[in-house]
Amino acid sequence: MSLSPVEGVVLAETTPVGEDPTGSDREFVGRSPGQLAWARLKRDRTAMISGAVLVFLMIVAIAAPLIARLYGVGPNDQFQDRLDGNSMPLGYVGGITGDHWFGLEPRLGRDIFIRMVYGMRTSLFIAFAAALITSAIGVVLGILAGFLGGVVDAVIGWITDVALALPFLIFALAVVPTVALRFYGPRDEVPAAFQVAVLIGVFAAFGWTSTARLVRGQVISLREREFVEAARASGAGLGHMLFRQLLPNIWAPILVSFSLAVPSYVTGEAALSFLGIGILEPTADFGRMIFQSIPYLQTDPAYVFFPGITIFALVLAFNLFGDALRDALDPKSSR
């Protein structure tokens, strides 16, 4: 094996790969996988449109009190004078006027637009909080189960199976009123914050399983990789290997599962409120709005239309964005 001829190759090999051939870009910058994903996301029109819709809806939700002040109508203001004798809103299409953009509710005469803005606030807050908590629980349990294996994996696996086997709706129907009764009397008014907390808790108790399984699978496929062994051979502890070596490699699926969990909690919360065990009056909420609008489907279709179309747009935008995010983070995955 001759040694001298390869010396020139050594020099050639150490010059950076993928450098701008024109040489104009002397300040070559290493682009991280995150930056590459962001560049791909920016090229994706679906992602940009759905992302813009999401940002708009979130700003509306966050700025609800400001919007109420500019709009000049509060969420619980009643406009009985604009209802007819049958408590139906006066005017066309559910009473749409310059003062009430989406019309008024039949019977109570509250403004639909501002109640939707506040309902979005409730929905998004619950969905984001539930998704954050479930992702955190799922990531910690999944990463531990996947990396440690053995007894830890088996126990976490059993708990996951039990949580998956319990019927969610029946459990929620049984637990939510019981918990409320445990802390408040049957005639006491249950504060909205408490209802929200109970809902988030119910979602958290069930929702972490899918994230945990996803993370566990990812960790199992990564834990035998040599970079983890290299950290171990250098004397790294469990925390370093889990959260410094492994976690950065599974951010992509976690992020995607988070972005797909949020819309499922939006609809889940709406479903529970629809069934009467979610958020109660007078707090504004999408699910209950739709529930209350069902009897007026024929007489006042606008009452059903506006909340329905908004929740549809919200969930669709989230799902499309989640899909686009997955494509951007993992360009190798087939569509």
Binding site: V17, G30, P33, R225, E226, E229, A233, S234, G235, N249
Partner: protein
């Protein structure tokens, strides 16, 4: 058995001359690793894969010991036990007169700095989400070492040492070729200034031209830093180029250990002869001189009695089935585990 090896290696001077009078850095006695197999009604009822079954060897400071053998003979398992990625089932690993066979993480901490590993696959051994700077500084971070002049400066020195541009500090592994990645892996192993590096097939995933570069880099580093290597490989040409001493493994055991010249020119174990005769030689066309072994390697679940090579050995006799040959020096040659060693030059 180990006394025999140590006396034999002590009399045989290290070839190559680098770090000649080095003291014993690493001593391995009866090192064993059995992997339990699932099956049977009782736990462990399925028997065990005897991946490594009683190894004895030592490595002196600044020396390179090659560990060769075909796939599945326990080379990698041995390497991983040496850096304590795997827990040995039996035997002893003594590093600088300290028994580290079952040392815990805290006891190992000072030793981690002296004992590092280079991995086979440069595409799996670097964390794809970390920059080169973070990868190379990881051993420093994990051990809480703050080098004078800062971590970044030390990392850039290391990158320069392994022939990479120090400006690549903020780049990611996917931007590098296989050879460059392996250099990053070497820089990481060097970060703690080790005395012994276990190189687990460091070049077998690379192109032949890149192999030469990486091997030469390792040799230069050995000269500059006085490193000792345990060099695991299946490529006999690479081992001959790089290692002063060579141990030949077969089915979890060392069948022959000795100087490079002894092993390559006067191999005594039939298996070593067969292995060497399998090196392709462009000057010699046709099957001339080629020893063709018949049959497969027996399963390490249930290795043959006596000599493990006897099922494929053309010299096997009754004695080979009943009596296991010890790894001892016979007739003044290198230690060899064979009842009927060959003699004379190869070819």
């Amino acid at each position: 058995m180990s006394e025999n090896v140590s006396t034999a290696t002590a009399t045989a001077p290290a070839a190559g001359g680098t770090g000649a009078a080095g003291a014993t850095l690493l001593r391995v006695e009866g090192l064993t690793k059995h992997f339990p197999v699932r099956g049977g009604l009782k736990p462990g009822g399925g028997g065990a894969v005897r991946a490594v079954d009683g190894l004895d060897f030592e490595v002196r400071a600044g020396e390179t010991l090659g560990l060769v053998g075909e796939s599945g003979c326990g080379k990698t398992t041995t390497g991983r036990m040496l850096v304590r990625l795997l827990e040995p089932t039996g035997g002893k690993i003594v590093f600088e007169d300290r028994d580290i066979t079952h040392a815990g993480r805290r006891e190992l901490r000072p030793l981690r700095q002296d004992l590092q590993i280079i991995f086979q696959d440069p595409y799996a051994s670097l964390n794809p989400r970390h920059t080169v700077g973070r990868i190379v500084s990881m051993p420093l971070e994990v051990n809480g070492i703050k080098p004078p002049g800062g971590v970044k400066r030390r990392v850039q020195e290391l990158l320069e040492l392994v022939g990479l541009n120090p400006e690549h500090y903020n780049r990611y592994p996917h931007e590098f070729s296989g050879g460059q990645r392996q250099r990053i892996g070497i820089a990481r192993a060097l970060a703690l200034r080790p005395k012994l590096i276990v190189a687990d097939e460091p070049v077998s995933a690379l192109d032949v031209s890149i192999q030469a570069q990486v091997i030469n880099l390792l040799r230069d580093l050995q000269r500059e830093l006085g490193l000792a290597f345990v060099f695991i490989a299946h490529d006999l040409a690479v081992v001959r180029h790089f290692c002063q001493r060579v141990a030949v493994m077969y089915l979890g055991k060392i069948v022959e250990i000795g100087d490079r010249t002894e092993i390559y020119e006067r191999p005594r174990h039939p298996y070593t002869r067969a292995l060497l005769s399998a090196i392709p030689d462009v000057t010699q066309l046709g099957p001339a001189g080629r020893i063709r072994l018949t049959g497969d390697v027996p399963t390490p679940l249930n290795p043959p009695t006596g000599c493990r090579f006897r099922t494929r050995c053309w010299k096997a006799q009754d004695r080979c089935a009943t009596e296991e040959p010890a790894l001892v020096a016979r007739d003044g040659g290198a230690p060899v585990a064979c009842h009927f060693p060959e003699s004379g030059e190869l070819r």
